[in-house]
Structures are given as structure tokens and as C-alpha cells.
């Protein structure tokens, strides 16, 4: 089966800073992949390259078999139109929600459908309400984002991305800006999506989420994938001391059993 996301020899630099140094990664249909690593390891940049929020400097990305960009003289060139279209196929959720504050919750979820996909308002409205119901926030449809809690905002942001009917969803540290007590509701929504078979790539520090929900965990170190595999393997019996140290750091103050 064609992978939902196929990344080959991906490189990305910001000026002199070589952030991604040759990443190969396959995400199968319906798979949930979690990217782990310390800050600066390149995990967020990798995620942002998948929907071309950042344009890679080298390498190939295929989404459900479609090569993004065109090859010219050994280099990939990307047209803005093509990238805009691609982004409707790959949804993204951000750490800071980034809801549109001048629109109601319903309008937030309708906006891309109407303005980008050209759906009728009636159709977009139905789809928006269905997605809001999916994240458990149908009754918040007429509210403005400023009236919602952080967890609710993030679930609306998830609904906004889902309303575009994406083939892949990207989650960029979506619980990092939340109060600890609100993290659970967002992770629950994400788990539900994974169980429904949504293809997902998540950057997160929630090791527990990675363990219980992910099909695959990738540990990034210095712009390369250091270890990848099934969560119980990478998280329970890591091969490298680097991953062991990282995990130890995360469970330093675990409650006793």
C-alpha cells in the first residue's frame, strides 16, 4: 500500500543552521506517528516540512503517492498554488491554537471550506457542525473563541483542520500551551481520531500518549532520526543511551506504583 507520507533524504537549513540532515520517514495510512526529541532536534521543522509551512532545501516528499513539487536541474521547485492545494490535504494544528478571533467558532470551522475549497455555505455549515460534534463542542458554535478555555480552543482548531477532509493531520505540540488539567481533553480527542483511522503525525512531549496511541515513535537527535519503531520498543527498551537519558529525564519524578 502507498504510504500516506513518504519522506526521502529531507534536508532543511535556516541560513547556516543545518536543521534537518537527511530524514527518511514513512507514515502508513491510518498510522499515528509521534516525533520525540529535545528542543532543537528538528522535530517541529520536520513536521512543518510535511505541509510545506517550511520549504525543504533538498529531498522528496510524497503525499499518498503524489510527489510534491517539480524537479528542475536536480532541485525541487514548488509553486505556491500547488502548495496551497497540498495544505488542504494535510491539516495542521498549532501549539497556540491560532483561531481567528474575529469569527465565531462555527465561522472558524467554515472559513477554509468556503474560501479555499469553494463549498456552499450550507454544506460548509453542516460539515462544520459535524466536526464540532466530533470534538464535543457543537454547542459552542455561536461563541467567539475568546469565550472558550484553552482546551476547547484547541479542539475547535482540530475541528477546523478536520473540516477540510485532510488525508493527514499534523499536530505541533498541541498540548504544550495548555493548563495541565486541560491537556487530557485534547489528548482524548486525538486518541479518538487515531482510533477512527486518521493518519497522524504528532510532535509532543506526552510520552504516555506516544506509548498508548502511537503506532510508531521516532526519536530525533540533531536533525536525524536516531531511533524509530513501535512505542513499547523505543520507549521501554531503547537501543541508545541518548534515548534512555531523554526518557529518564521525563520520568524523573514519577509517582510510585
Amino acid at each position: 500500500m502507498t504510504p500516506a507520507v513518504e519522506i526521502r533524504d529531507l534536508h532543511k537549513s535556516f541560513g547556516d543552521l543545518h536543521v534537518l540532515k537527511g530524514i527518511d520517514l514513512d507514515v502508513q495510512q491510518g498510522e499515528a506517528v509521534v516525533l520525540l526529541g529535545s528542543s532543537g532536534s528538528g522535530k517541529s521543522t520536520l513536521l512543518r516540512c510535511i505541509n510545506f509551512m517550511e520549504e525543504p532545501n533538498d529531498g522528496r516528499i510524497r503525499i499518498n503517492g503524489d510527489l510534491i513539487g517539480a524537479e528542475r536541474g536536480g532541485k525541487m521547485v514548488y509553486r505556491e498554488n500547488e502548495l496551497c492545494k497540498l495544505r488542504t490535504r494535510v491539516g495542521m494544528v498549532f501549539q497556540h491554537f491560532n483561531l481567528f478571533p474575529h469569527m465565531t467558532v462555527l465561522e472558524n470551522v467554515m472559513e477554509g471550506q468556503v474560501v479555499v475549497l469553494g463549498r456552499s455555505k450550507a454544506e460548509a455549515r453542516d460539515k462544520a457542525l459535524a466536526q464540532l460534534a466530533r470534538v464535543g463542542l457543537e454547542e459552542k458554535a455561536p461563541e467567539y473563541p475568546s469565550r472558550l478555555s484553552g482546551g476547547q480552543k484547541q479542539r475547535v482548531a482540530i475541528a477546523r483542520a478536520l473540516a477540510m477532509d485532510p488525508e493527514v493531520m499534523l499536530f505541533d505540540e498541541v498540548t504544550s500551551a495548555l493548563d495541565p488539567e486541560l491537556v487530557g481533553e485534547v489528548l482524548k480527542t486525538m486518541r479518538q481520531l487515531a482510533e477512527e483511522g486518521m493518519t497522524m503525525v504528532c510532535v509532543t512531549h506526552e510520552i504516555g500518549f506516544a506509548y498508548h496511541v502511537a503506532n510508531k515513535v521516532c526519536f530525533l537527535q540533531d536533525g536525524q532520526i536516531l531511533e524509530q519503531g513501535e512505542p513499547h520498543k523505543v520507549l521501554k527498551t531503547p537501543e541508545t543511551s541518548r534515548v534512555r537519558d531523554f526518557l529518564d529525564g521525563h520520568s524523573l519524578f514519577k509517582l510510585p506504583d
Binding site: K85, M92, N98, H102, G112
Partner: protein, 225 residues
């Protein structure tokens, strides 16, 4: 002690009201042309094309640093000689104040647009919006709300600056006042009435912008808390 007598001034109030109407025409047209032009110049200045950006910066700086009276004289006296066009006081006035205010509006637009969180551009981009669509649907609606106080301030400044157009014999309120003052020999009364007219005009205008601010504040975030 001056012996106040408004009879002559108020008897010719139609003469002043005509001037007021002419002032409003220039003011209105300067806004109608100046605001879109200001947006265009702001976008040009923020463009990634260096030549365009520098050109727009120059236009902004030039019109902000030269006195409006010099600009007006230049458009009225110099431009007709240079490109041999027929220039009426009205056209010269509208032209001067459209361009002059657009330079100020451009900076207000730029400040407003830059004040919007980068995450808004990112979120719009992530659902497939192009930059122009994002600007129109997401950024400007939010930026405009924040711009209203600065925009109102600048417009009031513009309205007062239009008194300069009396110097090129355009029959605005100030010009009519000068005429009436020399006709009636009652300058104190005439200029008092004119001051009151400007006062109420600007009061109404500023109340309207406050009303607008309140209306816009009802949806989401605005300048009012």
C-alpha cells in the same frame, strides 16, 4: 470691549455653509482615494520585492516630511507646467490631500497589519489560503479594528489641514470665512462661527468613529476592553 454682533455673519450663513460643503467634498474624496492608496502603499512597503518596498518607503517619507502647503503649491503651480495639465484648485486640493494622507494611512495600515500575531498567517496558510486571501479574510478585518483610533486621529488632522486649500482660492469654509470677514468687517464673529462649525463637524466625526469602534468590538477582539 468688543461689541459682539452676529447679525451680519448669521445673515450670510448660507455663504459659510457652502464653504463647509466644499470642505467636506475635499475631505471626503481625500479619504475615498487616500485610504485604498494608503493600503496599496503599505502593502508595497511590506513587499518582498526590494525595489517596490524602497519606492513605497520613499513616497511615505517624502509626503510625511514635506509641509502640506508646499505640496499643495507644488501640485497647483508646478505640475501644470511640468506635464501641461489643466489644474483647478479643486483637483489640486483633492490630489494633494489624497496622496498626502495616503502616506500617513499607509503607516497606520502597516502598523495594524504588523500588530497581528504571526500565528494568524500560519493558521490561514495551513488551511490552504494564499497570502492575498489571508490578508483580506483574516488579517485586515482584525487589523482595521485596531487601526480605528489612529485612523480617526489622522482624519481629524486631515480635516483641519484642508483649511490650507483656501490659499489656492478654493472656496472651502476657511476661504468663505475670509471673504465674509472682509465683506462684513466682522472677523471676530465670522471666525468664531467658523470655529464652532469645525468643532461640531469634528465632534460628530469622532463620535461616529467611537460608535464604529463599539460596533466592531462586539465581534471578538478590538481596541475596547
Amino acid at each position: 470691549m468688543h461689541n459682539w454682533d452676529f447679525a451680519a455673519t448669521l445673515g450670510d450663513i448660507d455663504f459659510l455653509l457652502l464653504g463647509l460643503w466644499n470642505t467636506l467634498q475635499v475631505f471626503g474624496l481625500a479619504l475615498v482615494f487616500g485610504i485604498p492608496l494608503g493600503l496599496a502603499i503599505a502593502l508595497g512597503r511590506m513587499s518582498r520585492i526590494p525595489v517596490l518596498s524602497q519606492l513605497c518607503s520613499f513616497v511615505i517619507e517624502f509626503f510625511r516630511t514635506t509641509p502640506p502647503l508646499v505640496q499643495l503649491f507644488w501640485f497647483f503651480f508646478a505640475l501644470p507646467i511640468l506635464i501641461s495639465v489643466q489644474m483647478t484648485p479643486f483637483v489640486a486640493s483633492v490630489l494633494t490631500f489624497s496622496i498626502q494622507s495616503s502616506a500617513f494611512f499607509a503607516e497606520i495600515f502597516r502598523g495594524g497589519i504588523n500588530s497581528i500575531d504571526k500565528g494568524q498567517w500560519e493558521a490561514a496558510k495551513a488551511i490552504g489560503m494564499t497570502r492575498p486571501v489571508c490578508l483580506r479574510r483574516i488579517i485586515l478585518p482584525q487589523a482595521v479594528k485596531r487601526m480605528i483610533p489612529a485612523f480617526a486621529e489622522r482624519s481629524i488632522e486631515l480635516l483641519k489641514t484642508t483649511t490650507l486649500i483656501s490659499t489656492v482660492s478654493y472656496a472651502d469654509l476657511m476661504f468663505q470665512a475670509n471673504e465674509l470677514a472682509s465683506k462684513t468687517f466682522r472677523p471676530l464673529e465670522v471666525y468664531t462661527v467658523v470655529a464652532v462649525m469645525y468643532f461640531f463637524l469634528i465632534l460628530v466625526f469622532s463620535q461616529l468613529t467611537i460608535l464604529l469602534e463599539h460596533r466592531l468590538a462586539r465581534s471578538g477582539e478590538g481596541t475596547l476592553r
